[in-house]
Amino acid sequence: MTSDETIVTQTQNTWCPGCGNFAIQHAMKFVIQELEAEGMARDHFVLVSGIGCHAKIADYFQLNSFYSLHGRTIPVATGIKMANPNLKVICFAGDGDLYAEGLDHLIHAAKRNLDITVICHNNRVYGLTTGQYTPTSPYGYQGKSTPNGLHEYPLNIIELLLGAGATFVSRAYTRRLPHLKRIFKEAIMHQGFAHVDVLQICASFFNATTWYDERVYETNESNAGLFEFACRTAKQWNYNDDTKIPIGIFFQTRKPVLPEKKIQKEVDRGVIVKKILEKAT
């Protein structure tokens, strides 16, 4: 079998036709194969997914995976990475999953700066539960749980991540495939916590294709090292208003990555228990 055939499972794909998740899967497949060609072992990748349409990606890749709980990709990925720093751990999360149910973990992961990659399939709805609003749905959004329109403004996730201290903050769009691939690769290669907010088309509940196509542009990344600059780029679109939507790497910097040490050390437990008992005597 070719690498192309062995990297996916035989599982029947159940995403809706036109769903942006196909682009995410395709781009990720491309990047993993490219990284493999550059010498990274395929068995070192571990995919962690939440629960939602996005999460099915775990079933579709013939790669190590932990199909976890709604909102909990990050703590699972953190445990895996701490246990074995040699693994390349990538979270596939939904916007409901990551920005609602599990938002605390996201902020803390950014603060912790562990070397993991987080991909948010941000379709701005709860896809799998049929289209309720999420933290990034626009003001006035009418879903089954908000029939009279949503009375909350969306979270500007990019600003939130910058505020939390993330060392790689980016946005991509499922209909800009080459750009999506590049951002994925840079995020995976980044040493530290990397976040990609992917504007993902939901064909069934939030089809913003034309709207995005007209507004999305690739931002100049030459100032991505400057925090003030990143904040300004982040403000260009607040996930609500009718403005241009920058995509690309907003901010990238180096900070100490959470020290990963310890459990490699082999210590005779009998000896250590004796030592502790002696000290307590």
């Binding site: 499972t9 599982t11 072992a41 068995d43 070192h44 571990v46 962690v48 629960i51 099915k56 775990a58 079933d59 013939q62 790669l63 190590n64 995976s65 932990f66 199909y67 976890s68 709980l69 909990r72 990050i74 703590p75 699972v76 990925a77 953190t78 445990g79 895996i80 990475k81 701490m82 246990a83 074995n84 040699n86 693994l87 605390d104 973990h105 803390h108 310890k262 459990i263 490699q264 050390k265 082999e266 210590v267 437990r269 009998g270 250590i272 228990v273 030592k275 502790i276 008992l277 002696e278 307590a280 005597t281």
Partner: protein
């Protein structure tokens, strides 16, 4: 039996627990078995804190109401406890702050003399105690040097001064032929057992009364070569731990009721994804925030049932240091042998009580886990339901775990036949677990083992129940393993019993409900739910009233 009880009390911030531990260490150095009860409200300054240190020539795991010596660093200590003084007992009190009978110790004067800090008043009181009971100064000095590594010389001057100011009134003799024993809290005994069982990581969010495990393991993490992580919440705790487990690292978590509520979705995930995990659950008074620093046994049924769906789990409630050590290690091993969540169910009384062990702890050898076959399937069907674990990375194989119902390779499946196969696989693991754990040691018997009236208990009340059973000539039956219920061992322990008295720190008698399912009936319930554990004298009275 020679035994002594000493009560030391003061305000929170007076260093009562530390002084109590010094006294406990001194008794241990003299060759006594020691138990220390620690009673404190949930605040950092003020309030009334006290410890009761009980030293005896045979192992003790509970306190008595009657005390031989009261060491009063505040007025409340004298006022609240003076009526518990035994006939030969006396009081040492901080004069002139405290008014009492007994011997005055001018602690402020001593501190002023040596320019000590106020907190060192507790060292002065320990010195006074040692003088009062005639402990050789060389022993006092050795213990202080070992246990107070900071400002040792100043502490010694203060202790020595207090020691010489007090008149000797009780004589405590060393136990002949006995040597000092290690003195650790229940939480530390559990932590030590986890280490012995082979944990690679411990993940926890602080919550009384379980934090002692976290603090202990963090303090030895470097020398033991383990990871100790304190993340943002209990939800993060259990999911991180499951991440560790997926990556092949033996991991335990610890919490109390409130934190465990947050963990339950993760417990159920462990059941479905078949990931090994050890959960140390130390109960405190509930519901809700309840009584943070006081005891309860009201989470037994919660622990038995927490998490949606049906999956096997193991629960052990140790009552002594050796049991905590042994069952914590066993919980790690069982979790990995069967890929299930396992629990060490403790409570405030056990977790924060301080104990010398009843015998020397032994580390048992561990057996290797079965090897997988290839091509690898994470949930491969096997006769006993246990699919061998493969740890990623493994060249050419993938390891997929899943919270959804899944097929043998870990890919989501809602197929009815596959669902039945997976449910039955988990049921077979439950059967295997039951045969592995319904073994000698799963139920502890004591007292008059032929008596027709039995005191039944689980967890920390065993210490007091076993003394009461001895005193009243009753049988003691106490399951350590609570899930799966060790039906065979329990039946054997109950042979010939006609009357059952259940003692539990709850308001409903939760073990009674567990036993009802097993076809047993209890005749009398002695329940306590004021957050305080029974002392021997109190329980003797309660049991005597219903026993005949």
């Amino acid at each position: 039996m020679t035994e002594y009880s000493v009560l030391i009390g003061g305000k929170a911030g007076d260093g009562i627990a530390q002084a109590g531990q010094l006294i406990a260490s001194i008794f241990s150095d003299l060759g006594y078995y020691v138990y220390q009860y620690v009673d404190y409200p949930s605040l950092i300054r003020g309030g009334h804190n006290f410890c009761i240190i009980r030293a005896a020539e045979k192992p003790v795991f509970t306190h008595r109401t009657g005390v031989d010596l009261i060491l009063a660093l505040d007025q409340k200590t004298a006022d609240l406890h003076i009526h518990n003084l035994t006939t030969q007992g006396t009081v040492i009190y901080d004069s002139p702050k405290v008014k009492s009978e007994g011997q005055a110790l001018a602690i402020n004067e001593i501190l002023a003399q040596y320019k000590g800090r106020p907190i060192m008043g507790n060292t002065a009181m320990v010195g006074g105690f040692c003088g009062c009971v005639g402990i050789p100064w060389s022993l006092v000095e050795a213990v202080i040097r070992k246990k107070l590594p900071k400002e040792t010389d100043l502490n010694l001057l203060i202790a020595r001064e207090a020691y010489s100011r007090i008149t000797r009134c009780i004589s405590v003799q060393p136990v002949e032929g006995a040597s000092p024993r290690p003195l650790l809290s229940g939480n530390e005994w559990i932590g030590l057992g986890l280490l012995a069982g082979g944990i690679d990581a411990y993940v926890a969010y602080p919550m009384t009364p379980s934090s002692g495990v976290l603090h202990f393991l963090a303090s030895v993490a470097d020398e033991a070569g383990i990871d100790v992580v304190h993340p943002e919440s209990e939800i993060a705790v259990i999911l991180m731990a499951l991440g560790f487990a997926y990556a092949g690292k033996k991991t335990a978590v610890g919490t109390s009721g409130g934190g465990f509520c947050l963990m339950t979705e993760g417990v159920s995930l462990a059941g479905m994804a078949e990931l090994p995990i050890v959960i140390v659950l130390s109960q405190r008074g509930g519901p809700s925030t309840g009584l943070p620093t006081y005891t309860a046994q009201s989470d037994l049924l919660f622990t038995c049932h927490a998490g949606q769906g049906e999956f096997p789990r193991f629960i052990a409630a140790p009552a002594t240091p050796l049991e905590a050590f042994w069952w914590a290690a066993e919980a790690v091993q069982l979790a990995w042998k069967l890929q299930i969540p396992t629990f060490i169910l403790s409570d405030k009384t056990f977790s924060e009580g301080i104990y010398t062990p009843e015998a020397e702890p032994e580390i048992r050898a561990t057996t290797p886990l079965p090897a997988p076959s290839y091509p690898y399937k994470r949930y491969a069907d096997t006769p006993d339901g246990v699919s061998p674990i493969l740890v990623p990375p493994y060249s050419g194989e993938v390891v997929k775990v899943n919270s959804y119902m899944h097929d043998y390779s870990g890919i989501t499946s809602e197929d009815p036949e596959m669902t039945v196969a997976m449910v039955q696989k988990r049921l077979r693991k439950a059967e295997k677990l039951a045969t592995m754990t319904d073994q000698p040691g799963a139920v502890v018997c004591g007292g008059s083992v032929k008596a027709k009236t039995a005191i039944l208990c689980w967890g920390s009340p065993r210490g007091v129940c076993s003394e009461v059973a001895d005193e009243l000539g009753l049988r003691l039956v106490s399951p350590v393993v609570l899930s799966p219920f060790p039906a065979g061992e329990f039946r054997r322990s109950m042979q010939g019993v006609e009357k059952v008295i259940l003692v539990e720190d709850s308001s409903t008698g939760q073990l009674d409900k567990v036993l009802a399912r097993e076809g047993y009936r209890t005749d009398e319930l002695i329940l306590r739910y004021d957050g305080r554990p029974f002392a021997v004298e109190e329980l003797v009275e309660r049991v005597r009233r219903v026993a005949s």
